[in-house]
C-alpha cells in the first residue's frame, strides 16, 4: 500500500509537469500569434496617424507659405486674381516655399519613415482659393522583411 502511494505521487508529479508545459506552450503560442496581429494593427494605425499629422501640418504650411510668398514679393495677394504674369510668378515662388513635410527624423525612432511630395498647386481666382495636391507615402523600416507601405493623396485648400 505504501509503495502504491509513492507510485501515485510520482505519476501525479509527472502528469502535473506534462500539464504545465503543455498549457504553457499552448498559451504562449496563442499569445504570440495575438501579439503579432496586435502589432500589425498598431502599425497600421500609426501609419494612418502620421498621414493625418502630415495633412494637418500641410494645411498650416500652405497658409503660412502663401502669406510669406506675398510678403517676399511685396504684393497684395488679391492682385494675383487679375494679373496673370504676377500669378505665374507667385505660383513659382509659392512652389519653392511650400513644404508640407514634417521634421523627418521624428518617426525614425519608431521605425517609420515618410515622403511628402507636392504634385501640383492651383489658384482658383474666381473663388479666391489656392489648392495644393500632395502625395503622402508612409512606410515602416522595421528590419529587412517587414516593409509595409501606404500611399495617399490629399488636396489642401486655403482661401486668400
Amino acid at each position: 500500500m505504501r509503495q502504491k502511494g509513492y507510485v501515485s505521487l510520482l505519476i501525479g508529479f509527472f502528469v502535473a509537469i506534462v500539464l504545465f508545459y503543455t498549457i504553457n506552450a499552448v498559451v504562449s503560442k496563442l499569445l504570440s500569434d495575438t501579439a503579432q496581429v496586435s502589432d500589425d494593427i498598431a502599425l497600421t494605425y500609426k501609419i494612418i496617424d502620421i498621414s493625418e499629422f502630415i495633412k494637418l501640418n500641410a494645411q498650416q504650411a500652405l497658409k503660412f507659405s502663401i502669406n510669406k510668398t506675398a510678403e517676399q514679393m511685396n504684393i497684395n495677394i488679391n492682385d494675383i486674381k487679375t494679373d496673370q504674369g504676377l500669378r505665374q510668378d507667385f505660383l513659382g515662388n509659392l512652389s519653392s516655399i511650400f513644404d508640407p513635410s514634417l521634421i523627418t527624423h521624428l518617426y525614425i525612432s519608431q521605425d517609420i519613415d515618410f515622403n511628402v511630395t507636392v504634385k501640383s498647386i492651383d489658384i482658383d481666382t474666381t473663388n479666391s482659393v489656392i489648392s495644393a495636391l500632395i502625395e503622402i507615402q508612409v512606410f515602416d523600416i522595421y528590419g529587412q522583411t517587414s516593409n509595409r507601405f501606404a500611399s495617399t493623396t490629399a488636396t489642401i485648400s486655403q482661401n486668400f
Binding site: 502511494g5 501515485s8 504545465f20 501640418n57 498650416q60
Partner: protein
C-alpha cells in the same frame, strides 16, 4: 467492486497533480503579478522562488503582452491631433496656429489684433478636457519652450509631430501620456 486501495491511489494522484500544478503554474503567476505591481516596501524576488521549482522566471502570461504598449502612443496620437486641429473660440484660430504664433512671437502670451491671449492657458484647458484624468505632459519645443502638465511623466510612450511656423521653420510638438 472497486478495491479501496485503488480509490486511495486515485485520490492521492489527483491531489498531488493539483498541488504540483498550482505550485508550478498558478503560484509563480500570482507572485509575479504581485511583485510587479506591488506598491509597498515588501517585495519577493520571484526569480529565486521560481527557480527552486524550475518554473518560468516570469508569469507565462505577461501583462506587457496582454496590454499592448503600442496602443498607448496611438491614444496620445489621437489626443495630440485633436488638440492641434481644435479651434479656439476666442481667437477663431486653430491651436496649432496659436502655438506657431507663440513660437514666432517668442512668448506664450501673444497679441492678435490688439488683444492678448495666453496660449499656454488655452492649450491647458483643451488638454484637461482631452486627456483622461488630466495627467499628461505637453512639450512644444519653441524658443522659449512651452511645457504644460506633469513634466515628471516618463517619456516611454509619446506622440510627436511638427508644427510649421510663419517663417516656414518647423517645431516639434510632443504629448506624453502615462
Amino acid at each position: 467492486m472497486i478495491h479501496k486501495g485503488l480509490i486511495d491511489t486515485l485520490f492521492l494522484m489527483v491531489l498531488v497533480t493539483t498541488t504540483c500544478f498550482v505550485i508550478l503554474l498558478v503560484l509563480p503567476s500570482i507572485l509575479w503579478i504581485w511583485t510587479k505591481f506591488s506598491q509597498g516596501p515588501c517585495k519577493i524576488d520571484i526569480t529565486r522562488i521560481s527557480s527552486a521549482f524550475y518554473a518560468c522566471p516570469q508569469a507565462p502570461v505577461t501583462l506587457e503582452t496582454v496590454i499592448k504598449p503600442e496602443y498607448i502612443p496611438l491614444t496620445s496620437d489621437h489626443t495630440l491631433f485633436t488638440l492641434l486641429a481644435a479651434n479656439d473660440t476666442n481667437t477663431g484660430l486653430q491651436i496649432q496656429e496659436l502655438l506657431a504664433l507663440a513660437a514666432s512671437q517668442g512668448s506664450s502670451t501673444i497679441t492678435i489684433n490688439g488683444s492678448s491671449y495666453d496660449v499656454s492657458q488655452i492649450v491647458k484647458i483643451k488638454l484637461d478636457y482631452l486627456a483622461s484624468n488630466s495627467n499628461y505632459n505637453f512639450i512644444f519645443e519653441s524658443t522659449p519652450p512651452i511645457q504644460i502638465g506633469n513634466n515628471g511623466i516618463s517619456p516611454q510612450f509619446f506622440s510627436t509631430t511638427s508644427v510649421t511656423l510663419p517663417d516656414m521653420t518647423k517645431v516639434r510638438a510632443m504629448l506624453i501620456l502615462p
